[in-house]
Every structure is written in C-alpha cells, then in structure tokens.
Symmetry: C2
Subunit: 415 residues, 2 copies
C-alpha cells in the first residue's frame, strides 16, 4: 500500500482522484501496489464526494504523516505550491506536480533538493498535458543528442489561430469563442501573450540541454497582433501561422530560445496540429524529427499524466529517477538580437505600381515578394532570409525612413 496526498482539488486534482478511482485495478497491477489517497488539501469542502472524509485544510497534517510517501501538487501558481513542495522534499516525501509555473521557476532548485534527499520530483503533466514528452525526452532519446525542440505548446492560442485560419474569424471574436467554450480564461493574457508557452519551452529546454532556463530570460511574443491579413499572406506563402515555442543549441554553446508566432510551412507536421491540440517536435542527431501530438490540456489527459508519474514513483521508491538539470548560468542564452532567422514582413504602400516593393527590395536585399490571388490594397508581403533580429530592425528602420510603413513582422520557422 502506497499512501499519497493530493494538494488542491481543482480541475487537475479532482481529475487525479477520478483516474485513481476509475482505474484502481489496472493501476494497482501496474504499480504492483495499491495506491491510496490518504489526504486531500483544499480550503473548500466537498461533503457530497465519496472521499469527503479525506479532506484537510491543514498542510501540516500531510507533512507530518509519516505514512504519506508521495505528495501530488495540483494547486497551480507559485505560492503556496513552492513552499509546500519544498517542505515535502525536505521531509522525505517525493513530489509529483502538474504545475508548469513552479517547474519553470524553481525546477533546478527542487530537482537538486530531491536528488540530495534521494527522492523523486516528477512533472510529466507540466508540459503537453496527456502527451508523454518529459519522459521520452529524458529517457527514450537518451542515446541521441537533441539539437532543437519546437512546439505548439498552448491549446488556447492554437484554437484561436485555427479559427482565424479556417473560418477567417478575427482575433477578438475567436478569443471570445474560446472563452465561451471554456478554453480561455476570463483573463486570457497568460495564454495569448505567450507566458504559458514560455514556461513550457523553458522546461523542455532545461531538460534537453541540462541547464535551467528562466522564463524571464526568454523573448516572448503572443498572438494578439496577428491579423487576418497576416493569415492570408501566410496562406499565399504556403503555410499557416502558429504560436511556436522553440529552442536550439548553437555551435557557440549558447541556446537560442523564444516564443513567437511563426509562419509554418504546410509541409511541416506542426502545420497540421489544429484546435486545442499540442504538437512537439524533437530534433535529434540520430532520430531525426520525432513528433508527439495530443491534447495538451484538460482534466483527464493532465490527470492521467500525473497518475502515471505517481505509478512510476511508487515503483521507484528506492531507486531515484533520472530527471535533473543544473542551475542557470550566465551567458548561456544567446541574446535575442543575435538570433538569425527568416522573416515575413507586411508593408504599406501601393502595390500595383510595384514602387513599394522596389523600396523594400532596396532596403532588404534578397527580399522575395509573396503573391496573393486577391491582393490587399495598398500593401505588400515580402520574405527575407537569414538575418539577425538586430539586422532586420536596422533595415526596417531604413525602410520606414524611405516612407514605407512596416505593418507586421513575423518569423518563419524552419520546422
């Protein structure tokens, strides 16, 4: 019998209880031990639930119960989750969490603490919901140098972009629909401004390259500025716009990491990841591109990932798991200004006369024009290849000086 405690009875926490109760037999068989939820921490009361008697409002009850060997943290947010998880790891309890904010902010510290005390700190559910990704990266791809990772890591923004692409719905309208359907929160900023995707790519980057990356250090753009015009140009170019979290190891030992909307070629597997789904491509030197796809959020997918970690934890009570990364170090992250890439630009001017494009071509050597069937009036779309962020900024300044207004600038992904 393995006794566990669950912190937080919200969407994920109640899902964990549901998965444990509906799959008791198969979980016991797989864990080779029965798993019992002895305590559930929540300030609310749920008298109607069959396990109503297991609720407590006092974290100390859990911390001081020597029978509890695994604590499942599903509270979300940094505090009090961080304090509670720390205390658990300091007091001989392994921790499983679905909390991406916690792992992105405190992963290195908590992993070191877990290692020191020979405990597990597992967080499969923190990225990609029910999609197995943390474990495959750390384990199945162990004989591989991972060079790059790119992913659609946020279901809410992917739903909005899918509506914009497929149904030509404007951003605001699509956001409203997402809110109505429960995909977006009332304050949608963590999703649409990219913070959620940023935390997830930080976790993946930390895991794949062994050094903690903090979200504050990562250039993050959301999708609030994406227009239907951009979507139409992307289509004419041969692709779609997706919010991509991306990290790659550079030859100088730095990593290039960012979250930004990007043009993705229709040929890419990521282009076909639609609606609330997530897709993550891991580029290894031996495996080539491997993609993981599925529902990146939701009660049961996320809960099943948490429970899979709990099972793993029960089976490895005496043998610690292998997840680990070092504390962050200075000069590890390539300055955003230096990161090279391809860009799509939407510029204002009279296209029929080709004058605008001529000016663009002058300011942007090598620029190629995107030809649309139904040309938007008074503007043009061009692409520019292999130029640094600093370089493109300087050129666009020059372009603006020549009287051409730059309406939008979106990166082109090479995935």
């Amino acid at each position: 019998m393995a006794d566990i405690a669950v912190l937080g009875h919200g969407v994920v926490g109640s899902g964990v209880l549901e998965v444990l109760l509906t799959h008791t037999q198969s979980i016991t068989r797989r864990a080779k031990e029965e798993i019992r939820v002895k305590h559930i921490l929540d300030l609310r009361e749920f008298p109607e639930l069959p396990y109503a008697g297991s609720f407590t409002k006092d974290f100390k009850v859990i911390l001081e119960d020597p029978e509890v060997t695994i604590v499942v943290e599903c509270m979300g947010g940094l505090e009090p989750a961080y304090t509670f998880v720390r205390k658990c790891l300091e007091n001989g309890k392994s921790v499983v969490t679905s909390n991406k904010e916690l792992v992105a902010a405190k992963g290195a510290e908590l992993l070191a603490l877990a290692q020191k005390n020979n405990l597990n700190f597992l967080f499969e559910a923190s990225v990609g919901g029910g999609i197995p990704i943390i474990r495959p990266i750390s384990q199945c791809l162990a004989a591989n140098e991972v060079g790059e990772i790119a992913g659609i890591l946020n279901g809410t923004t992917n739903f909005i972009l899918t509506k914009m692409i497929r149904e030509h719905m404007g951003f605001e309208e699509a956001l409203k629909l997402a809110q109505e359907l429960g995909y977006a929160e009332r304050d949608p900023s963590a999703d649409v401004e990219g913070a959620d995707a940023c935390r997830k790519i930080c976790i993946l980057a930390s895991l794949a390259f062994g050094t903690h990356v903090y979200p504050e250090e990562v250039h993050t753009e959301g999708i609030t500025k994406i227009t239907l015009e951009d979507v139409a140009y992307a289509d004419a170019w041969g692709g779609v716009i997706k919010l991509i979290g991306q990290v790659s190891m550079l030859e100088n030992g730095h990593i290039a990491i960012m979250v930004a909307p990007m043009l993705i070629s229709r040929e890419s597997q990521l282009a076909n990841v639609d609606d609330v789904f997530n897709g993550i491509v891991v580029r290894g030197d031996a495996t080539g591109d491997v993609m993981f796809y599925g529902k990146g959020a939701g009660k049961l997918p996320t809960a099943s990932a948490v429970v899979a970690d709990v099972i793993d934890c029960v089976k490895h009570m005496k043998a610690r798991k292998y997840l680990f990364w070092e504390e962050a170090r200075p000069d590890y992250i390539e300055p955003f200004e230096s990161i090279k890439g391809d860009f799509f630009l939407r510029i204002q001017g009279d296209c029929s006369s080709d004058e605008t494009f001529a000016k663009a071509a002058e300011a942007l050597p090598g620029a190629a024009r995107i030809v649309r069937r139904e040309e938007a009036k008074g503007e043009a779309g061009v692409t520019v290849e292999n130029i640094s962020e600093a370089g493109i900024r300087e050129r666009l300044l020059r372009l603006e000086e020549s009287g051409v207004r730059v309406l939008d600038r979106i990166r082109i992904s090479d995935f």
Copy 2:
C-alpha cells in the same frame, strides 16, 4: 563499467556501435556508468574498424563471459536469434533487441523467461524505429485504459503510397523507385504484403492489452492491389489510402486486429504521415488520441532506440523493468468475418446511365456514391457504412450476380 555484447554487425548493429562511440560522454552521464562493447558476434571480419579486435565468430565466448551482463541482438530473423536470446536469458544476461520478428513470434515466452530470472528483455527499437512508442505505451499511459491503436507502421509501403498519391506514380514504378533508393529490399514481399506491419501491430497489441497476439492469427492485406484509380476515388472522398495496422478492444473482451490498406480522412493526423515516416495513434480513455511520429526505420534512428534501452538496462540492473504480457489464449481474437466497419467499393458498369449505381444501391442499402470531378469511364465508387466483413462479402456476391463486377474493396478507417 557495464560490459555488453552485440550480436550482428549489420545495419542496426553497426549503428549501435556508431551511436555508442560518438555519444560516449553523454551516454556515460545518463547511464551513470561507462558502457563497453566487449564482444561483437559476426561471421564476417571488419579489420579496418577501430574495434576490430572485439569481433568473435563464436557465440559461446559471449555466453560464457561472466562480465557481459547485457546482450544486444541485432541479427534479425527468427533463428539463430531466438536460440541465442533464450540462452542469454537462461544464463543471467539481460537482452535488448530490435528484432520485431523475434518479439512478435516469441515475446510472451521470452518476457516470462526474463521475469523468472529477474532480467530485462527490452525492444523499443522493434516498432517505430527511433520513435519512442513501447515505453510511452507501457509507462506514460499507465494511468489510462488504451482502447485502440492505429498506425502507419511500415515506411516502405508508406513511401510507395505517397508516390502514388502525390505523383500519380503506379505501384510497380513506385516500388522500383523505393528499391533504387534502398527503402525496399530486392524481395519486397514482407513490406508490400503487410507482414512487417503485422508483426509491429502484434507487438503493440500484446503490450497494450496484455495478451500475446501471433502474426499468423491476424488478417493481413498488403498494398499490391491498390491502383491509381483507388487513389483518385480516395481523393474525391476526402482522404488518402494508407497501410494501417489497427487493433481495438471490443466490449466482448475480444480484440479486433488487422493490417490492411485503408481510406483515411484528410482531417486525420495519420493522413499527413508521408514518405518513409511512421505515425502511431494511441487512443486512451483519459488522454484521447495521442500520436507519435518520426522515422520508423533507418540505421541511426533504430540504433539510438536500442542504445536507449541499453542505458535503461544499465540503470535498472537490480530492478527489473515492467514490460510483460501473458501467453496467447484461444477466442481472444475476434473472427475477421465479424469485424464491422465502413467500406469503399469500386464497381464496374456504365456510370453515366446511373444504372450501375442503382444496382449497387439495391444490393447495398445505404450506399453513398463518391462523385469525382473527372469520372472514370465505366465504373463507380461507393461507400457503405457499418457492415461486417461477412455481411459485405455476401452483399458483394449478390451484386456480382446482378451483373456488376466489384473491382476493389478498401476499408475506411475511423482514425
């Protein structure tokens, strides 16, 4: 230091050596121990190789070396691989294999032997090459009831079908090209007749549902009869033809399992798996559809999966891994005749008069016609829903009796 031996220095075996030699540092870090290849079994000699001194022609040297704790079997084929693997497991050596034929034919027996002797028998590389799939199914999805699995499991046939779909190349021509590019063997029958995909779906079914499924028991169709006309009808219907290995758990406790070319809707993730790539969808009750995608074959992808298993094996020397399934049992596999599904039919007759379709509609209640922009002369395509194999056979007999020839019959996948 962990001493291992590699059986067979062919494509995969030499790849294993290459991965171990080029990634020594990171592999040692991950395995927490250095991995040394002490012996390589091959009848050929490779004097030019840096590890030429490690070759042996005598399996006994490996079997009787007490320092060798893990044996990597990359010989392929059933014999002598089976005899060697058995002897290793009987003599205290864990085994890692990439041999799908061996696992599909002898998995239950070898897993039981490994369990009895507290050893590991791992085979991540046997399905999906470098795509992590065995481990995610058994581990990450542990808190999930897997209900169905469907996959494009053979890269060669997928390459041929992609050429037929995209470039309207005929089957024979596409096969010839695949052979020229080294994707197909001189005798391509194991690929094009579906035997390779069958072994892989057997392994996945055995793992997911816990009972061994032998390839001989699985209805297997290849792609040799697929024509460009079929491809055109599939396109008009809204999809593509793919060779699918599929298994699902039925309510009566039987499994429905088969390998067959199927029509896949363009909306499906599997429809976008092209060329030599593989894609496997695992449908769980909690996670929904999760897809794994990547190169399903090739020297380095496969070798990296083998080496990942070796690393896992080194880390779990004292704790056995969890892979296990029971011996096959009678009445477990649903008779093919009873399996219900949707079908596409291509029938011969004069379409312009609609007479053929009228006859089809009479023999096949509920049949829907596929309208093509450029109608093929003298034939029609129809779809029929939710009918058993026995049922459709009987109806097609009736149709033929009414003078309409059935040219082709292809299942429609619900993935």
